[in-house]
Symmetry: C2
Subunit: 192 residues, 2 copies
């Protein structure tokens, strides 16, 4: 059994290498630079090997996205934990979210923008993304009022998502970014 075990171990390691290579390449040069040929060269195997691990390029990107969810969840959790009060918590988590999107645009794209196979808000949502969403929901809890917390959180989250994506695509004035964030936070932290 040890031989088979070793093989499975090597195989798993190679799979990790593929995901890591895709992630690094995407973060360094954008997703356009992530081709199956470059990926294969990076892991020092031939192209078809990729397809013995993943159904296709989309599946690789989805795997990167799932991994990225963990990072996002961690950063949101840290921001929430560091806050001194409910309103500051919302402001902090919003800033953390925006900074994540700006610091790692390729990762953010993989999670939220690129059309991948992984579906959200359904049964098979990545558990790490659920965690990230829960951080947001926890933070917003005091301000949901009569609205359903999940729906309320989705709306706030959409606001954040819109801000970061529109700005990154050059559709918003960059210098007003913080003010926009402040407005969004302000509007979602009013009681009554």
């Amino acid at each position: 059994m040890s031989i088979q075990a070793r093989r499975e171990r090597e195989r798993a390691e190679r799979e990790r290498a593929i995901i890591a290579a895709a992630r690094e390449l995407a973060e360094a040069e954008g997703w356009d630079a992530v081709t199956t040929r470059r990926l294969a060269a990076e892991i020092e195997y031939s192209q078809p090997v990729l397809y013995s691990h993943f159904k296709g390029k989309g599946a690789i990107m989805a795997a990167v996205a799932v991994e990225g969810c963990a990072d996002l969840a961690d950063e949101l959790a840290a921001a929430r934990a560091a806050a001194t009060g409910p309103r500051q918590a919302v402001a902090g988590i919003a800033t953390a979210y925006a900074e994540f999107a700006e610091r790692r645009p390729a990762l953010y794209d993989a999670i939220f923008n690129l059309p991948t196979d992984l579906s959200f808000a359904t049964q098979e949502t990545p558990v790490e993304l659920v965690r990230a969403f829960a951080e947001l929901a926890q933070t917003l809890h005091p301000f949901a009022g009569d609205d359903n917390l999940e729906t309320f959180t989705e709306t706030f989250w959409s606001g954040l998502h819109g801000l970061v994506t529109l700005m990154r695509n050059g559709r918003l004035r960059r210098e007003e970014h913080e003010r926009r964030l402040a407005i969004l936070v302000d509007r979602f932290t009013r009681l009554g």
Copy 2:
């Protein structure tokens, strides 16, 4: 001079045909289906003709986007005109925006999502988009409070954009769409 005039007329007509074909193809089958070869076949010319009109595929998409801006502006203006009060105007324009994005996803993508060469919030923004933005700003004017109207409008617009894009990519529960819209409108139409 009439010969040259006819030529220019024919040339302009062909350019319109290219944009129309690209738009129809994109709306019918998505932007992935819009290839230069299919586009050339559609207008019954060879591929290189496209490049005598546009710098490349991106420029064609940008042209479609600019055209689409006019439609969006029209629909937003109509929604604003039909409203019976300031708050209803915001709700109406938000619904109109969301319906535009849902009814013509390819067009919406060309305008806001796909990385094109046209830049916004700068000098050479398409005039039609400025008009669409102005409709939003006018509608939101009564609710901006102390915030700068343009920045306030950008924030609300980002909320709308986030809602429609996340939902279309399967990141939000579709059945909660109207409730999310209502929450967004509610939060941006509170006075004081």
